[in-house]
């Protein structure tokens, strides 16, 4: 089972681009990379998922290099409301439905 490693915390100023990198050295050939976001006192929320290269949606972009041993979640022009914990989830075991959350990266946006 692939494990993920990401920074415990990050600070950024409003208006900047924030990049959170996750390493997943043991990722298997058919595993996807999934990121969730959790605001204070709320349930986690799916942000984005990718397999290779680049994926973009209305919330974020996900960059995955060719070796797929890491991925970078990019949040463009952050605002105070982007203050949250961001989780890079390890792939699930085959046949399992559960999500496994680590400690995530606590992102604090400074005005």
């Amino acid at each position: 089972l692939a494990k993920t490693t990401q920074p415990i915390s990050m600070d950024s100023y409003e208006g900047q681009e924030v990049n959170i990198t996750c390493s997943h050295n043991n990722i298997a050939t058919n595993d996807y990379i999934t990121w969730y976001q959790q605001f204070p006192s709320q349930g986690p929320r799916f942000i984005i998922q990718g397999y290779k290269t680049k994926v973009t949606n209305e919330v974020a972009s996900l960059f995955i290099p060719a070796d797929r041993k890491s991925s970078t979640l990019s949040l463009p022009r952050v605002s105070l409301s982007d203050t949250a914990v961001y989780y890079c989830l390890p792939p699930r075991d085959f046949g399992n439905e559960k999500l496994t959350f680590g400690t995530g990266t606590r992102l604090t946006i400074i005005p």
Partner: protein, 113 residues
């Protein structure tokens, strides 16, 4: 946009009492889940439910816990005899089969005194 709802938002109970936490998953989802998060700690998986039976459960989900889908819309988590360490935020989630994208509810904060 459809969403998962949970009631109550906050439940206070005495140790040893039974509690039932309620959830209404998104209507056309097939998989249902309960997770919990003790204050300041990780989100932990408790149980998944599919086709009217438990499909997976964690070590936390012992005999004190049970889940039920009593009708076509509700999904409940029962704790028979609460302990102080059951105090946590309990999140219900639902998804399509096999999807990484699970939709979480706002949570029920359970406080056991």
């Amino acid at each position: 946009e459809p969403e998962v709802t949970q009631t109550p938002s906050h439940q206070v109970t005495q140790m040893g009492q039974e509690v039932i936490l309620r959830c209404v998953p998104i209507s056309n989802h097939l998989y249902f889940y309960w997770y919990r998060q003790i204050l300041g700690q990780k989100v932990e998986f408790l149980v998944s439910f599919y086709n009217n039976e438990i499909s997976e459960k964690s070590e936390i989900f012992d005999d004190q816990f049970s889940v039920e889908r009593p009708d076509g819309s509700n999904f409940t988590l029962k704790i028979r005899s609460t302990k102080l360490e059951d105090s946590a935020m309990y999140f219900c989630a639902s998804s399509w089969a096999g999807a990484y994208e699970q939709y979480f509810g706002p949570g029920t904060r359970l406080t056991v005194t």
